[in-house]
Symmetry: C2
Subunit: 112 residues, 2 copies
């Protein structure tokens, strides 16, 4: 159950993080694992996206190297989880503003 190498909180770079977020496929992957705090199987999240396996693997790498996700290896499966606390500490409000903000409508919150 080892964890793949990832940048420390302090070394997170805003340009790198934003570049990682500026890809629709990567944001879809993030949205797919944006449920609770338990790690999600890569294979499961990958079904939400319409690119080949090598491309998905590439995107996981970019997300991990940017510091957005933590990847753990268990057998021949990989599990990923969003580094929410680390990101909130380094760039407060950024992730909540980006994740699933496509679904957000412009209408003035009638559900209060």
């Amino acid at each position: 159950m080892r964890t793949l190498p990832q940048p420390s909180v302090d070394s997170l770079d805003l340009t790198t993080v934003l570049a990682a977020l500026a890809d629709p496929v990567r944001r879809t992957l993030l949205d797919a694992i944006d449920i609770g705090t338990e790690p999600v199987a890569c294979s499961a999240a990958a079904t939400t996206v319409d690119v080949g396996a090598p491309t998905v693997s590439h995107h996981w790498r970019v997300l991990r190297e940017a510091g957005l996700i933590e990847t753990t290896v268990d057998g021949r499966q990989r599990f990923v989880r969003i580094r929410r606390d680390d990101l909130e500490r380094r760039f407060p409000g950024l992730l909540p503003a980006v994740l699933s903000s496509e679904q957000r409508t412009t209408k003035p919150a009638t559900n209060l």
Copy 2:
């Protein structure tokens, strides 16, 4: 005092916005005009950045076409201003999270 064409609030695209923000030169330009609500002269903001005039012009265009700034023409000068309200309406919290968050330290807010 005409205003250059810009995307409407509803047509703002998250991928485009994030891609525009994922460049350090463009973020420096945004930080330079991120003061109050009055438009700032392009020439003034451009002094904060170390690239040639054509490149600066290119970056203003990218920022405008992404919907991040509004550009007005007055004589031979251009003035720019951040479209704060529009962006807040479309992507709440995004801009505040990005602008000047490089200066933000990791220390736990001792100033309370």
